[in-house]
Symmetry: C2
Amino acid sequence: MKRIAILGSTGSIGRSTLSVAESYPDRFQIVTLAAGSNLEVAFEQALRWRPRVISMAAEVDADALRSRLKKEGLREIEVAHGAAGAVRVATHGDVDFVVSAIVGVAGLEATYEAVRAGKILGLANKECLVAAGELITAEARKQGKPLLPIDSEHNAVHQCLRGGRMDEVERVWLTASGGPFLNTAQSEFASITVEQALNHPTWKMGRRITIDSATLMNKGFEVIEACRLFHMPPGKVEVIVHPQSTIHSMVEFVDGSILAQFSVTDMRLPILYALTYPERIPSDMRFAVSDLRHLDFCPPDLKRFPCLRLAYEAAEAGGAKTVALNAADEVAVAAFLEGSIRFDEIPRIIEEVLTETNSGKLESIGQVLEADAEARRLALERVAEGKKLERPRATSFA
Amino acid sequence: MKRIAILGSTGSIGRSTLSVAESYPDRFQIVTLAAGSNLEVAFEQALRWRPRVISMAAEVDADALRSRLKKEGLREIEVAHGAAGAVRVATHGDVDFVVSAIVGVAGLEATYEAVRAGKILGLANKECLVAAGELITAEARKQGKPLLPIDSEHNAVHQCLRGGRMDEVERVWLTASGGPFLNTAQSEFASITVEQALNHPTWKMGRRITIDSATLMNKGFEVIEACRLFHMPPGKVEVIVHPQSTIHSMVEFVDGSILAQFSVTDMRLPILYALTYPERIPSDMRFAVSDLRHLDFCPPDLKRFPCLRLAYEAAEAGGAKTVALNAADEVAVAAFLEGSIRFDEIPRIIEEVLTETNSGKLESIGQVLEADAEARRLALERVAEGKKLERPRATSFA
């Protein structure tokens, strides 16, 4: 019986993890949950799973949840809140395995403390590796515990890596769908609308990650995550565009053999893999190999998608640069979504913030959060400057 | 230093193995060689590699080689011949690893004796597994030694299997190029000429294996080999047509994950993999992943390619049936190549021989060779009967 904590239980990955636990009641026990602000879902989860501890993001929600659980006679469920509550959930003594799926830097501290407490980590939070990857992976190595990626690309890499030793790896190949502008001419990038950018060809996702997929910054983050997870230099992590997203990623070994992984596109599969590793257990998530018809590939175009280049540069520099990359991107994407900047200004703003960020090594989560705040401030300045200049905008830009 | 014997040193796999040994002089030592009938090449190999023993197929060639080596002052090289010579090569006390690459049943005995002597086997000989697979794999299990496949499909499967345990495998997927008649209508199969059948779209190979690729019997043999090598029932070994032959094969695990292997099409790669397993060592055989463009797939058509169905049926039955499948196919293909039967009569003759073959278990290599001879006799009878009947032939059939 594996005893599980979920950081981000009301989000998409959190719910999928609970769905996996539901399918294998003899294997997985849900011990603690950290929810966000969705009180209704958190209440239902507490009723269904009877965790030892459940934490809400806000104190007011925690109070409300506590009184509702009292009415149900569930006084034994401890209700916590905030960053401290998430840490309590992540480090609970009865927990073996922590699923880290809180979006944004909010999940950083609890995730880091989980590793420090010797828990096995299933990682779905991008910021953990992009912003604090060096700290978290160093701590996991110190603890002798694996970091198991819960996203299709890195989970695929993890599976392919079983085909050899780490020192036998020549290169990691991350596949990218290419996003909605794979075939759009560079001259049209300035006039890309929010509506066009949100219209991803193959995935339905949140707004920020959809824009990050359109700029290929999402793939850039994944390059950085791969470098940290698998201790590879950025020069050994490559991206290849594969519009069908059937092959989730590949590993090239020194002898010239390449292993690729594919499966149905269902997040429950990497979750199940992480929860049961090094075992595999039967699932109903079958990919119909006999229905395979066409797989297409092409190299990414760093000219039209400078965000991917910026991510490589930040990965090379390390330290505060990757923190700034993530923070500046979040600000720039938000500004694009509210109509304050053009699509092609996203990489410009990020590049300017990166230029002003030094690449010093960060020694603590506190320093990471400081660097994050500083980069956000710089990025917001750039957005505001752009507004003041009132440059002419392309007419099709809403 | 791995000490190597090659059964079939003058053939294509044998020469590729020597080329690998040439590239890594610090890792591999050639200890013994069993050549075929190419005296000139055998002489050159003896001069270059100074084996302890070299064996020729025929006694007359062995005598000639012995006297030529004497003239060179190489009296210390022992020259043997025939089946006993091959066994001597395969079981030499200084040998760790035997590459089994003699074509046809001629390699059976030496290969079996190599396993019995506790050698690690690199298997490139199809007949060893199709005809005597149950005996050879049982002996290897008894010895606790791995059987390492040296052909692109099974080598790919071997690599993908590293992604999990054997009891976590749901299915093995062998890829097939589909051969020259992938898109030929069934009505045209009766009039396929020898020239058309020898014109394989992607591979240059020997005449029999080229015809076997055109009928998909070659893939059928590979299904049987996979069943034996990986202890899978035939129902768990599937074939998918993949005209580019980029992906060499795949393994589907119980959790729904699929691993696929690809690489350049160079037999030195599976040879190197087998010789160095469980290590991987750097090679110059790089597949340019960034040049990947299109991969196509479709299911095989058992109606137009009944040989594949026959192979599955023989695999299910086991014992003498797979011996007969191989023997009858060899006779039928030879008859087609000399113009005695039509292309679509190849499966008919094999099916008739299989019907007359009982599926008794074979307990020794001697029994395998007897079953082989009996099936050949039956197949030759069928060919002769067909000639007597003088049925009308399609006009385009040469």
